[in-house]
């Protein structure tokens, strides 16, 4: 018994020790490249955009800074958008960024969307699905999957638990997801697969070209995606847009997403910055609630096609989710103008 305790203790101490000395993990999709760049230039930026590809390919810091400068509120912004990044990964990465203690950071734009619990099978096997799986994030996911509420005391809904155990109704895959996230948590804390980070450091896989492909031409994290939709795709998009606009009512965030964003906002405020939640123009976000969201911060919403028709024209869209280069530039200008207005109104000072 004593020897078992010694063995387990040695295991845990080694895991903790290794965690302390290992560098930030090498994660595909630009996560590592952007993180390293931001670490090296953290005090140069006062505005940060974080979110999915809808931020990555649609917010040009160069244009944003130009508009704010022209309006007497100069900023220096960085785009930390990552393709396919949603809550809770966003929250983890934001925490890591804020842990760098960027001294001049004043505004953090966080993309607003529902918390994702499902990962496609091919993405489940990547290190991208692992690096963020700390307890704060995993516990939120487990709570959402079991409908356990956000109170300190977990109270899973009995009906939900029954469905999960019996794999019935909408819970056919929930058991696998619970196992998956619990395993990711264990892997995260036992440093599974982290040798690759050390190997990458020596092999030097991160070339200048590769870095530039993620950081963009201006090294501000923005990469353009110029292609437009084909006529067939555009027609399908128009139909989808009309259907989305015809839907009545709004879709509120789950309490788990609100809790995740609340944690983000708290961390942002702790370093003296202001959180701003951003709803990007996409057909899947049209019915997202913009009022009484429960979010602790300003919500900048661009999900109303009637209010922002120029952002929903098929000629400026790559697909349902994304804008073309010109559409992205237009979107950035609108975001910047809104930001300046809010600042002048004293709402985000």
């Amino acid at each position: 018994m004593t020897n078992s305790v010694i063995g387990v203790t040695a295991f845990l101490i080694t895991c903790i020790g290794l965690r302390a000395i290992l560098p930030f993990p090498e994660i595909d999709g630009g996560v590592s490249q952007k993180f390293r760049f931001f670490s090296a230039h953290k005090d140069e930026f006062d505005t940060l955009f974080i979110g999915s590809s809808r931020v990555y390919f649609q917010i040009s810091p160069e244009i944003f800074d130009r508009v704010t400068r022209e309006n007497g509120l100069p900023t220096r912004s960085f785009n930390f958008g990552i393709g396919g990044m949603y809550l809770p990964e966003t929250a983890y990465l934001l925490e890591q960024i804020l842990n760098l203690k960027p001294r001049n950071l004043r505004w953090v734009f966080i993309e607003y969307d529902e918390m994702q619990t499902k990962w496609s099978p091919e993405n489940q096997t990547s290190r991208r699905a692992l690096y963020w799986a700390d307890w704060k994030r995993v516990s939120l996911l487990l709570r959402k999957l079991t409908d356990a509420g956000t109170d300190p005391l977990w109270r899973p809904a009995p009906a939900k638990l029954r469905d999960i155990v019996l794999r019935q109704n909408d819970e056919k895959n929930t058991r696998s997801l619970l196992t998956f996230y619990a395993t990711q948590f264990e892997k995260k804390y036992t440093n599974v697969a982290r040798a690759a980070d050390v190997l990458n450091y020596f092999v030097g896989r991160d070339t200048n070209d590769r870095r530039a492909s993620y950081l963009g031409a201006a090294s501000d994290g923005y990469v353009t995606r110029p292609n437009r939709m084909s006529p067939d795709k555009a027609a399908a998009y128009e139909r989808g847009l009309a259907a989305a606009m015809a839907q009545a009512g709004t879709r509120a965030l789950s309490p788990y997403a609100v809790e995740g964003y609340r944690q983000c906002a708290e961390e942002v405020r702790n370093i003296g910055a202001r959180p701003i939640f951003l709803i990007t123009p996409s057909t899947t976000q049209i019915n997202a609630a913009t009022e009484s969201t429960g979010l602790p911060g300003i919500v900048m919403a661009f999900n109303n096609p009637r209010a922002y028709p120029n952002l929903y024209r098929s000629s400026v869209r790559r697909d349902e989710q994304h804008l073309t280069k010109s559409g992205s530039e237009e979107f950035t200008r609108i975001v910047a103008a809104n930001f300046v207005d809010l600042a002048r109104a004293g709402q985000i000072k």
């Binding site: 004593t2 020897n3 078992s4 010694i6 063995g7 387990v8 203790t9 040695a10 295991f11 845990l12 101490i13 080694t14 895991c15 290794l18 489940q124 096997t125 990547s126 290190r127 699905a129 692992l130 196992t179 619990a182 395993t183 264990e186 892997k187 036992t190 440093n191 599974v192 697969a193 982290r194 040798a195 050390v198």
Partner: protein, 468 residues
């Protein structure tokens, strides 16, 4: 649930603690039986009934064989057992293969065909537990094993979770006597078992899963790669399948040992074999000895003419190939090994008394054997016969292929792993750790496991032999 998953660790911890807390042997066996069925149910609970059905049939056959004196009735009961077990195996594993092969053959003859295959799920480990179960009834029939009256004992023998899904194939005469007496924890070689588990874990999780992406990439599109990359792909596969399967076996043996039970050894450095016959004495020993004792010898073995014996070798190896999977690639793999065994036998016969041949083979035996084994692995792994042909062209003739290539330093990795394996076979990593004080061993073990996890890929790759 796989041995390299975290959830297995928690599962085994519960099994282990509860098992050794119990004093009564029957209670322990019932507990292990419940755990074994839960282990299998974690994959698909519906197929636990298949295991139960197979066990029940063989339990009844065993009892009937014990009661019957008449040879005709005894033959009837053993035939029943063989038919039930092989029937289940053939239905789940080979039904679609036979139907589609017959359809293709008829189409090749130009005859009209109308076939339909069933959407069958292959129950994990069916080939293994079927062979476990059959060894019982055959040994009872032969009088080598007394019929078991305790259903729990037989059920536990068939479904004991460590070897349940990927072997080693355990025989009734080996395992059932172990269930009679109460296991004592003081007799368990905990240190040896946990070290064996660690060795198996490293083989599977670090090495086999580490090389798997390269292997998958090559075998998915072999025509895109250069001949050098073909060598890397095939050698990596040889490493992967050995480390994957022997890693599983090591962990299975270790898990059983921690519960006080012994399982047979399944590997004995097969890649250092100096001929194919030697290879089969070192690779998947439990299967090769099972096929020898329950198929090759009943077919007539070495008795009779040389041609008769060679026929028996070919039948055994072809069925051995088919046992691995329902595809022609596996049949060819078995046939290649069969031919290699015949060639070796002929070589021995023809060079008997020629000293030069013996001297030459001292140097050539190993490279020829390992090369032949690798050529056969091509069929084992290739998606179809067309891909196998492409790979062989690259691997044997150094021709064909595209421009895509792997780094050549991967060949150094092959050399490094081979060196470690060779040193291990020479007992360089001998059991000096047995002399360490217990607390030092425990601390070193914990630290080592934590370091090993760094080298485990982020995703789990199923054991190759699960599909068999």
């Amino acid at each position: 649930m796989s041995f390299v998953e975290f959830r297995f660790l928690w599962f085994f911890l519960v099994v282990f603690i509860v098992y050794w807390t119990m004093r009564n042997n029957t209670a322990r066996k019932v507990w292990l039986l419940l755990c074994s069925y839960s282990f299998y149910a974690a994959w698909n609970w519906k197929f636990t009934f298949l295991v139960l059905g197979s066990t029940t049939a063989d339990y009844i056959v065993g009892l009937m064989l014990g009661r019957c004196e008449s040879p005709a009735w005894r033959r009837f009961w053993i035939a029943t057992s063989v038919c039930v077990n092989l029937g289940v195996l053939v239905f789940f594993k080979y039904f679609n293969f036979f139907v589609s092969s017959a359809s293709e053959f008829l189409a090749w003859l130009g005859l009209p065909t109308s076939t339909s295959t069933l959407n069958l799920i292959l129950p994990v480990g069916i080939s293994f537990y079927t062979f476990h179960s059959m060894s019982y009834t055959i040994d009872v029939y032969r009088g080598r094993q007394r019929p078991v009256s305790n259903f729990v004992d037989l059920s536990l023998f068939v479904s004991f979770f460590p070897p349940l899904v990927a072997g080693p194939i355990v025989r009734a005469v080996y395992f059932l006597p172990q269930l009679v007496s109460v296991r004592k924890f003081s007799n368990v070689d905990v240190r040896g078992a946990v070290m064996l588990f660690l060795a198996g874990f490293i083989k599977k999780a670090c090495i086999a899963d580490g090389v798997a992406p390269t292997v998958d990439r090559y075998f998915a599109h072999p025509a895109d790669f250069t001949p050098t990359s073909a060598w890397i792909g095939v050698l990596f596969y040889a490493i992967q399948i050995y480390c994957d399967f022997s890693g599983y076996t090591d962990m299975a043996i270790a898990a059983a040992r921690l519960l006080g039970y012994q399982l047979p050894n399944n590997f004995q450095f097969p890649y250092f074999a100096r001929n194919v016959s030697d290879f089969w004495r070192r690779w998947h020993i439990s299967l090769s000895s099972w096929l020898r004792d329950y198929l090759y010898i009943p077919l007539g073995g070495n008795r009779g003419s040389r041609g008769f014996a060679y026929r028996n070798v070919m039948i055994t190896m072809l069925l051995g190939g088919l046992w691995h999977g329902a595809a022609w690639t596996f049949v060819i793999w078995g046939a290649l090994h069969g031919f290699a065994l015949l060639i070796h036998r002929e070589w021995i016969r023809l060079t008997d008394g020629f000293k030069w041949a013996i001297r030459a083979m001292r140097w050539l035996a190993w490279p020829i054997t390992i090369y032949a084994v690798c050529v056969a692995w091509v069929f084992f792994r290739a998606h179809d016969l067309g891909s196998a042909g492409t790979i062989l062209k690259q691997f044997v003739l150094f021709r064909g292929g595209g421009n895509e290539h792997f780094h050549r330093w991967l060949l150094l990795l092959v050399a490094a792993l081979a060196l470690i394996h060779w040193l291990n076979s020479r007992r360089w990593f001998a059991e000096s750790w047995r002399q360490w004080p217990a607390p030092a061993f425990a601390a070193a073990y914990g630290c080592t496991f934590a370091v090993v996890l760094l080298f485990v890929p982020p995703h789990y790759t199923p054991f190759i032999y699960f599909q068999f």
